[in-house]
Amino acid sequence: MNLSDLSQQMAQRWHDQVRVRTEPHGPCGEVECPAGLLPEIARWLFAELDYSFAGLIVEEDPAQWVLRYEFHRAREDVPVQVVVRRALAERTFPSISDCVHAADWHEREAEDMFGLIFEGHPRLGDFILHDDVWQEGVEPMRHKFQTSLAPPERRPNPHWSLRRIVQTPGAFAMPIGPVFSGLAESVHFQLETVGEDVIRCIPRLFYKYRGIEKIAEGRAPQDALLLAERFCATSAFAHALAFCQAMETIGGVEPPGRAKTLRVFLAELERLRHHVAAIEGICESTALAVAASQMALLQEELLRLSGALTGHRYLFGLLTPGGLKCDLEDDACQRAIAAAQDILRRLRQLEKMLQFSSSFLDRLEEVGVVGAKDARTHGLVGPVARASGVVRDVRKALPYCGYEAFNFDVPIEHEGDGYARLRILFAEAAQSASLMQQAGAALRPGPIHTPCPSRPGAALGWVEAPRGAAFCWLRISEAGQVARYRLMPPSFANWHGLHLATENFAFQDFPIILATFDLSVAENDR
């Protein structure tokens, strides 16, 4: 649907209550509506037109709240940003999460960070700022909250404890984390069970909350880029790329062709490495030791390959708004492609062997099933969504970096179980290796950087990160500093849907389901 269709249809339904215009920065339809209409419009876009919800951006203007709800669909459709404005004194907005479940955590976050109230939302409290560390009403994302000051005085609630939902006789709550037996990121789970099965799975996240969105404010774009690159190292290149693309949209520049091709090359290298690591995690969770160490070998080889090619094993320090900081030699790229092809060959062998390891398959098949409908209403993204039959890939839907010129498939499965998620990872790894090859063939000599001015303005940046669609909203102030940096990472969406997979499955399947869900805590916690 193009912009004029959209405005026509909206005018038919809501007449002059909504205003549709092209978003001043970037190819996006901006729909401005009164707060009361928001749930209706969100429902229409999400449930009737099959748009996906990407995230909620809250901005505090001097005089008013500006809430932006991002929606997108397929390539021929214009992305839609629904904008609601209200005076600062009014803090109440209608909730859309009873229809768009994916907005649930976005609204909780806005409540915790800005003190907004979403009418109709159950308001569970204790989300980002933990109630056993912070008192109510801190609202760190408000402008009046100064990061430079010492941490505010703490008046935590000493009687706070995690809420228990299951109240049948014999029910008990199993606490796990945040410090684990082994190498896992810090997160707490409360698994409520009666006997064998997990009845409620409540992850308590944000132990690693580093306030990236807040501390980015007031920094020069180059320094905020350091944060974008470093808040989640396993998809560092992807998030840095989203940041740079937002900067380029604001500055109105287009990176040169060679830079774009190299970006595709490196982004796919990162995806390949990430998927190998994720498969390793699945093998490990089922205690298939040889397979896990075989995957670990491949992962280390990919890390070394990245290190030898770019100087850094996690691809730090390469991106800059307008292109890349350093060029890669064509020969080195070709060697990397050959190495990646060899790794893919061995990955395929291992895939075959796994297909014949019945004890392994038994632990994955029909375990942790997420249906297509649930995956959609909860807004799951990435390989997890694609394993449940939801085709979502922003490389196709909103192409960037010239992805439209490359030939690749978006693998899809329909079972939605652990094994489907594993198959997706294998299939996508093969696609990534092929994309690396195509990018290598498409490399032409040329510059790698166009100067990117830091103009005032705002824009949305997006990439298909290894774990799924990642969006970020960047606003640059008159002084050329970052005024707002909103992150909508894929793990945030998928953690919200984890309970779909874990509930009603046996307790001992929990680690396996967790591994197949391929979640990053650092990416979620920011």
Binding site: V133, L183, E185, K208, R313
Partner: protein, 262 residues
């Protein structure tokens, strides 16, 4: 299942010979910038560094790099008119500040000799970005295989001799970290891994993040790098049990008095 056994045998031994021999494979380390004489470029290089890791040395026209702060942004090489010289190695682990909790006469930052070939480690993620933790994880892969050197991960702090901390220590993780430390039996040592754990990196200090582990716990061994490659972490573990000599946390050594207190 026999297919896996065959596969394992066919793969042969991949393990590095470090520490007996040097590891020469490309890409094992991102390296770190080297301080020293930089003539006229001193002022410009100092300004390039976003984390103030580079400062002018006492000797004229020289630079000191504080490895606790270097976050591998490569600004001092890529695009610098006089790029910094680069150390491609990884033997960076250095002693932390001596802690008061160690009884006089004991071995200070080292664990005693009885631990030299059997050490149990607990890892706490205090807010890392996933890179340091992943590099620690690589120590278990066949390329590094820390078991051969007598290092083992343990599931419980009650069995741990070494607490390995990654991340800048976020507000929410401070208490879990302290509780883990207190649950460990003595003698115990703390290794802080990564620039974030040593200085807060790009994250701290801020309203939700500390400026490293030393604010919360006495640190015995510091492993710089962002992230430190697996070999650097291995070097740190070997330093903690006295099997390798520590390096200096600044380049060039010796450490200046003001650089040690932070």
């Amino acid at each position: 299942m026999s297919q896996w056994v065959c596969r394992g045998i066919k793969t042969r031994i991949k393990t590095t010979h470090y520490p007996a021999q040097a590891e020469t494979a490309p890409g094992v380390s991102p390296g770190l910038p080297l301080g020293g004489a930089y003539a006229a470029a001193v002022a410009s290089l100092v300004n390039l560094c976003p984390t103030k890791a580079i400062s002018p040395g006492l000797v004229k026209d020289s630079l000191i790099v504080d490895y606790r702060r270097c976050i591998h942004c490569f600004r001092c090489v890529r695009g610098a008119t006089t790029p910094m010289r680069w150390d491609q190695g990884w033997q960076w682990a250095a002693d932390g500040q001596k802690c008061d909790s160690v009884a006089p006469g004991s071995e200070g930052n080292r664990l005693g000799r009885v631990f030299a070939h059997s050490v149990h480690i607990i890892v706490v993620d205090a807010g890392d970005c996933g890179a340091c933790l992943n590099e620690v994880k690589q120590l278990n892969n066949p390329y590094y295989n820390m078991h051969r050197l007598g290092f083992f991960l343990t599931p419980t702090p009650r069995h741990a001799d070494i607490l390995l901390v990654v991340g800048p220590v976020t507000e929410h993780m401070r208490l879990p970290l302290l509780k883990t430390y207190e649950a460990m039996p003595t003698p115990k040592r703390v290794i802080a891994v990564g620039a974030c754990a040593l200085s807060g990196g790009v994250f701290g200090p801020s309203f939700v993040s500390g400026a490293g582990v030393a604010q919360t716990l006495p640190v015995d061994v510091q492993v710089p790098g962002h992230p430190p490659p697996p070999l650097a972490i291995l070097h740190g573990l070997l330093v903690a049990v006295g099997r390798q000599t520590p390096a200096s946390i600044t380049s060039p050594a010796p450490i200046l008095p003001e650089a040690t207190t932070r």
